[in-house]
Symmetry: C2
Subunit: 417 residues, 2 copies
Amino acid sequence: VFQNPRGTRDFTSEEMKKRNSLEESIKKVFQNYGYKEIETPTFENLDLFTAKSGEGIISEIYSFKDKGDRELALRPELTAPVMRFYVEKLQMEPKPLKLFYFGNCYRYDRPQKGRYREFKQAGCELIGTSTPEAIAELISMAYKIIENTGLKDMKLKIGNLKILSSIFEKINLKKDQIEYIIPLIDKELFDDLYNALQEFGLDNKAITTFINLLETEDLNQIKKFAGSESEEEINRFEKIIDLVKKTFKIKNFKVTLGIVRGLDYYTGTVFEIEAPSLGAEKQICGGGEYQLVSLFGGRETDTSGFAIGFDRVLLALETEGYSFSENYTEAFVIPVTEDMKNKAIEITEKLRKSNIVTDQELNDRSMSKSLKYANSINAKKVIIVGPDEMKEKKVTVKDMITGKQKQIEIGKILEIF
Amino acid sequence: VFQNPRGTRDFTSEEMKKRNSLEESIKKVFQNYGYKEIETPTFENLDLFTAKSGEGIISEIYSFKDKGDRELALRPELTAPVMRFYVEKLQMEPKPLKLFYFGNCYRYDRPQKGRYREFKQAGCELIGTSTPEAIAELISMAYKIIENTGLKDMKLKIGNLKILSSIFEKINLKKDQIEYIIPLIDKELFDDLYNALQEFGLDNKAITTFINLLETEDLNQIKKFAGSESEEEINRFEKIIDLVKKTFKIKNFKVTLGIVRGLDYYTGTVFEIEAPSLGAEKQICGGGEYQLVSLFGGRETDTSGFAIGFDRVLLALETEGYSFSENYTEAFVIPVTEDMKNKAIEITEKLRKSNIVTDQELNDRSMSKSLKYANSINAKKVIIVGPDEMKEKKVTVKDMITGKQKQIEIGKILEIF
């Protein structure tokens, strides 16, 4: 027996109903914010991803040679492809350019709950602006997208990598030292962080001050430590936070310098949204201000964006017991006798033409088996086409929820829907 | 500069608008006919496709080894994956099972107009029935899907491979001879066909009779030639044709035995829809009755289905000059002064919350540049937030189509949309 490849999934119609409804919900908010949908290919030239993330990424992705010996890769993420698209074809578009997308991505990863080898991402890129209003709008939109899905338990955290970098500089950390502590900061392993910084030769007071800075929400404390070199960025960051809170009216978020996303890629404000119910794989959204355009050969311009882990949001909604609507069939038409079959088809077609989801008995089954099938496909009404009723131009309509039956003139059949 | 891989495409927001509207149109008809959407992975184990199509297919597709040395392939079509899904997980579902899908497929093919290395298919499978009503409904639905897209110039052709095979047998053609003439029949190269059959030793009268049978719409003529062995299938075929014409009321189609689709895969009635405007790549839909379930290890059951070349339908619509609706922004909000910025954001957010597609000036530009940008994103109305009007709790609304301006109370702003 054949199976789907490890780490991939088949989706039943019940699952697709949920996925489509989640996609609609996310898309609606992107559109309301003036974002326009685009699409890029499922695979790209491998060097696009190594240019962005280094050769190390090859071990984590699906890369292969095509028959023309081109090195290709199934995309592991969508920002690089969208930036490539922008540089290649969209640089002349009026700015800001607001782009959103849905797309499957691929990672050669150990499959586990919330981690698949083929997974879906939703995301957006905002190209050509970095005013505080623009960044605050981006963060607020991310929050509202998740909120609009119906998810209750979510945490937004906003940080800033430019400020964090200047603090690293202030305490004289070297590049390899920074690389070592980044994962410790990310996982909030402050004991390990303490030990590491001690080994790097920092005194206890400096370490405590530093760890406090990672945890504080008080921007003045940060400003005081970081000094005048960072003042402009801290003021800008303060403005963004202020807009998010007071103007975009997002109440529920935490400011923390402890957000560390790809340091050589992100350049300023960064943010993450978590669904705590998901445990280890709790991050459902991440993004911020970044620079990639010149790396891909374009004229540098301000860029920011975020990606949403579609599958994880769905998992989080299911964990919270969110009630998705179910598949159903509005009408199911059954001919009582052989010579009623054509009449039954005509009624079926009439309903379909009026956009009523309608099915009909296609297997010549008995009435009881036919009704059982109608029930199994969640039919709301069954229309029974019998010869006696037909003489009076009527059909019998059975309401599958109440079980009640009544006769209805064929000419008035659309009225019951 | 990085480029998208050869034979793949990037889609702009204008193109996505068309693609989404076409997808919606196709989906609507599938759903009205009681079909439910499913999805399978983008890649499968390679042996799924060689089992269906033979080793020869490897040279035409993207196949590769993953890091666990598994032989994988980007799917070249969707029937095999859906049948694999059915056998693995859906065999116990009530029958008939009506499944539809959209998915990208991949072929390592020479790129040309209407032929891409990554292309989109829509399609469906009908599992567990083969009554004339079921097959007639399937064919009629395919026709109505294409009709519903807005395409004007289309041709439906219906044939039957079981009857054609019995005629091959009747004139004593061997397997390799049949394989040789199949492409000639497919391309309607009747002179070449004539020569080939002459070489196979058929006399002129037999050849003429045979070629007539490929062209005739007269089922009685076919019945007379094919004899009693085919009578049952011809009667069934006649019933299907009759239902399509008289009950499903499809007027515009041609019956022809000249439709030859994968002889060892399709088993009975087959059909194709063409868009003549596309020239060589004119086939936009193809399907019929087939057998695959037992090949994939399942308990054999009647199956039929069809696939639609999504990109070709779109190309055909564009060729006919079909007028797709365009992307637009309902409102664009501009603050006149720095201290009106927060107020502008609040108005923007209020409109978005009411599902009005709204954007705002995010780049601190002058009024004239801002209006130019609003125009470039196809904004219908511009809302100007100025300090004088604000004192009276009003804003200025400029209609971008008529150019007219008027002042409106902020509390009544939703009423103008």
